[in-house]
C-alpha cells in the first residue's frame, strides 16, 4: 500500500461516526461607524488611517511625508506621478530596492483592520511584504463589518494568491517587546477615499 492509501485506509477505519454540519456560523457585528472602528483597530495594530477626498490629496500627503524618498512604486494609475520605480519587471527579487509601495486594497474589515489584497491588485505577490513602507488605498464604502462578511464578499480562489493585511509587520519575540517592522513593511498607511 502506498502512503496515501495507508493513511486514507486508517482514517476511514478510525474516524468517528459522521457528524452533520448544517449550522450557520455567521455572526453579525454591529458598529455605529465602520470607518471609525476600522481606524481605531488599525491604530491599535500599528497602522494609520487617513481620510482623503481625492487622489490629489494622497499625492500631497505622500510628497509631504516621504520627502526625498526614492524607489517608490504604485499600481494605481492616478498616482503614477509619484512613482520612480517600475513594477514592470519579471524577477520579484528586483523589488528589494523598493522603499514605498502604494497599492489598492480590495476591501477592508472593521473588526480587525484587515485589508484583502490579491493578485487582482498585485503584479507581484512579494510586493506588500518586501517594500520598506506600504500604503494601501481603499474606498470608504468598501469596509465590511467582520470576517464572516469578508468571506461572503471574497472568492479566495479567484486568483492564485490573496492575503489579509492588518497593520505593518511586527514581532514581540524578544522578551515580548513589540517591535514594528519585522520582515515585512515597517509602516502602513491606509488612505480612505469616499
Amino acid at each position: 500500500m502506498s502512503a496515501r492509501e495507508q493513511i486514507l485506509f486508517n482514517i476511514k477505519n478510525n474516524q468517528p461516526d459522521y457528524q452533520e454540519l448544517n449550522a450557520n456560523f455567521k455572526f453579525e457585528s454591529v458598529y455605529e461607524n465602520l470607518y471609525e472602528k476600522f481606524s481605531e483597530i488599525l491604530n491599535f495594530v500599528g497602522g494609520k488611517a487617513l481620510e482623503v477626498s481625492s487622489y490629489q490629496e494622497i499625492k500631497d500627503d505622500v510628497r509631504e511625508h516621504y520627502q526625498g524618498v526614492t524607489n517608490i512604486a504604485t499600481t494605481i494609475e492616478e498616482l503614477s506621478a509619484l512613482a520612480d520605480f517600475s513594477l514592470n519587471i519579471s524577477d520579484p527579487h528586483e523589488l528589494e530596492m523598493l522603499n514605498l509601495a502604494i497599492i489598492k486594497g480590495d476591501f477592508a474589515v472593521a473588526e480587525n483592520a484587515a485589508i484583502w489584497v490579491s493578485e487582482k491588485q498585485l503584479p507581484h505577490r512579494a510586493l506588500p511584504m518586501i517594500t520598506q513602507y506600504l500604503a494601501i488605498v481603499i474606498h470608504k464604502s468598501d469596509i465590511v463589518t467582520n470576517m464572516h462578511s469578508a468571506y461572503e464578499r471574497v472568492k479566495i480562489d479567484e486568483t492564485g494568491f490573496g492575503t489579509f493585511i492588518s497593520g505593518p509587520s511586527k514581532t514581540a519575540d524578544i522578551e515580548q517587546s513589540l517591535v514594528i517592522g519585522a520582515h515585512g513593511a515597517r509602516g502602513l498607511v491606509v488612505y480612505v477615499l469616499p
Partner: protein, 467 residues
C-alpha cells in the same frame, strides 16, 4: 537539540533555580493571557464562536477521509503537487528529495511545528542541507542550538540579554546590546539576505480548505510570505487534521486564532495560497505521524481539533512555572501533554501528570477541547499500561488504603499530627518530597472531624437550651 530524557518534574526543578526568571516567565505569559481576555471580551458572540469552531472541527474529524480526497483533487487541479507521508521519516525524505531535485543545499523555513515534531532540521543537516528558520523567535533558538519552548512565542524562555549575546556571537551586533528594536533590526537585515538567496522555502499550514484546494498561512512578521514569494519552490507541510471544509469557515477560525494566541484581532498576514505563481512549483505534504492512531482513540481524538493558538500554554500555572523545555517534546503545555503520549507512551508518561487539572486550559481553548479531562484520562491509561514509576504507584495505593478506612484514616491523622509537633525532623527532611519546595504547615490542635464532633455537640446543647 538534546535528546536526553529528563522528566518534567526534574527539569522543572532546574528551571525553578532562577527564581527571578521564573517569576518573569510566569508574569509575562499571564500578561499574554490577559491580552487574550481583553480581545475576547470585545466579541459578544465569543462563546458561540468557540462552539462553532468546535462543531466544525467535530465534523472534520468525522469526515476526514472525504475532505482530504476533496482537498487533494482541488489542490492538484490548482497545480499543487500533493504528497502523503505516514511518518516523520517519510515526511523528511520527501522534503529532501524536492530540495535535491532543485540542485540546491539551502532552504529557508517559516514556523512549522510539524517539522519540529519530525526533527526535519536535524535530518537535513545530516544530509548536508542548511536550513534557516525565519521566524525571529525560532531563529534565536536555532542559533543557540535549542528548540522552541512555546509554539507561538518560541524564545519566551530567554531574556533580552541572552538574545543580545547570541546575536553578538552570530550576527556581530554590539557586545552587551539588549535593545529589542536594535536586535530585531539586525535579524531583519540578516534574514532579508536569506530570503533573497534561497530557492526553496518551506512553510507550515494553519488551515487547508477542502472546497477550494488551497491553504492559509498566518504570520505577524511576514516571514512566510517573504520566503515563498522569492523562492522557486514552496513546500507546505500539514498534519492532515488541518483540513476544514469551506472557505466561509475561515471566518470562524481567523476570528478565534489570533485573539486566543496573543490578543490580536488577527495576525498581520493571513495569506491564502491556491496556485503557484508563474514559474514556481508548489508542494503540499499531508502527514499522518501517529494522527490516524489518535483519531481512533475515542477519549483522545478531540486533541486533533487543536488550531495551535497556545492559549492553554499561557493560562497553565504549571507551564508558566516550569517552562516549555521541561516538556521535552515539540509541542509543550497542556495540549502537548495530551498529544505526546499518543506518539510514545513510555517516553512521555510524565507529561499528563504535569498539570493541576484546574481546567483553565479547557476554558480558554477556542475549539473547546476537553484538555484537562484528557490529561486525567491519560493518567489512567498510563497507570494501566505500566508506564508510571513504582514509587508513585505505591504512594497512590497506600493513599487509597488510608482513605478507604475511616478508622485507619483517623489514626494516621493523629499519628501525623503527633509526629509533626513532637519530632518535626521526621517530616521536615529531604526524603519528604512535599517539604522540598514548601514549609510544613503549623500543626492544628485537633482534626476537622474532632472539631466538628465537639462543636456539633455544643450547637446541639445550645439548641436544646433554646427549646
Amino acid at each position: 537539540m538534546s535528546s536526553i530524557k529528563i522528566d518534567h518534574a526534574t527539569a522543572s526543578v532546574e528551571f525553578n533555580k532562577d527564581e527571578a526568571h521564573v517569576n518573569w516567565h510566569d508574569e509575562t505569559l499571564w500578561f499574554v493571557r490577559s491580552k487574550r481576555d481583553k480581545a475576547v471580551f470585545q466579541i459578544p458572540e465569543w462563546e458561540q464562536l468557540r462552539e462553532a469552531g468546535s462543531q466544525i472541527k467535530n465534523h472534520v474529524l468525522s469526515n476526514m477521509h472525504d475532505l482530504l480526497l476533496e482537498f487533494e483533487e482541488k489542490a492538484t487541479a490548482n497545480g499543487i503537487t500533493v504528497h502523503w507521508a505516514t511518518d516523520a521519516q517519510e515526511h523528511n525524505e520527501i522534503i529532501y528529495s524536492i530540495i535535491k531535485n532543485e540542485g540546491v543545499n539551502r532552504m529557508v523555513k517559516s514556523k512549522s511545528m510539524l517539522t519540529e515534531e519530525c526533527h526535519l532540521n536535524d535530518f537535513l543537516k545530516e544530509k548536508g542541507v542548511e536550513v534557516i528558520d525565519s521566524d525571529l523567535g525560532e531563529r534565536i533558538v536555532q542559533m543557540r542550538n535549542e528548540s522552541p519552548s512555546h509554539i507561538v512565542l518560541p524564545a519566551i524562555h530567554l531574556k533580552r540579554s541572552d538574545v543580545g549575546e547570541t546575536f553578538h556571537k552570530h550576527l556581530g551586533t554590539e557586545k552587551g546590546a539588549t535593545d529589542p528594536q536594535y536586535l530585531t533590526e539586525a535579524a531583519r537585515q540578516h534574514l532579508r539576505d536569506t530570503f533573497l538567496t534561497r530557492k526553496v522555502a518551506l512553510t507550515g499550514v494553519n488551515f487547508a480548505i477542502a472546497e477550494t484546494g488551497g491553504f492559509v498561512v498566518c504570520t505577524n512578521e511576514g516571514n512566510a510570505d517573504m520566503g515563498v514569494h522569492l523562492a522557486d519552490v514552496h513546500i507546505a507541510c500539514m498534519g492532515f487534521e488541518k483540513i476544514i471544509p469551506k472557505a466561509e469557515h475561515l471566518g470562524v477560525f481567523l476570528r478565534l486564532l489570533a485573539r486566543s494566541a496573543t490578543g490580536q484581532p488577527i495576525t498581520t498576514f493571513s495569506s491564502h495560497f491556491h496556485k503557484p505563481r508563474e514559474g514556481q512549483k508548489m508542494h503540499i505534504i499531508i502527514v499522518d505521524n501517529g494522527r490516524t492512531k489518535q483519531l481512533g482513540r475515542p477519549d483522545f481524538r478531540n486533541s486533533l481539533k487543536c488550531i495551535r493558538c497556545a492559549a492553554c500554554f499561557n493560562t497553565c500555572p504549571v507551564y508558566r512555572r516550569s517552562g516549555g523545555h521541561s516538556y521535552h517534546t515539540a509541542i509543550a503545555g497542556p495540549i502537548g501533554s495530551i498529544l505526546a503520549p499518543n506518539l510514545d507512551m513510555a517516553q512521555n508518561a510524565d507529561l499528563p501528570f504535569a498539570s493541576t487539572l484546574c481546567g483553565s486550559c479547557s476554558n480558554v481553548c477556542p475549539v473547546k477541547i476537553d484538555i484537562h479531562e484528557q490529561l486525567y484520562k491519560w493518567r489512567q491509561v498510563l497507570v494501566k499500561e505500566g508506564h508510571v514509576p513504582t514509587f508513585k504507584k505505591l504512594g497512590i495505593q497506600s493513599m487509597a488504603g488510608v482513605l478507604s478506612s475511616p478508622s485507619f484514616f483517623r489514626m494516621a491523622g493523629k499519628l501525623g499530627r503527633f509526629l509533626m509537633k513532637n519530632t518535626p525532623f521526621v517530616v521536615n527532611n529531604k526524603l519528604n518530597v512535599w517539604y522540598q519546595q514548601r514549609e510544613m504547615p503549623d500543626v492544628p490542635k485537633e482534626s476537622f472531624r474532632e472539631w466538628y464532633v465537639l462543636r456539633g455537640e455544643k450547637i446541639n446543647e445550645e439548641e436544646k437550651k433554646a427549646l
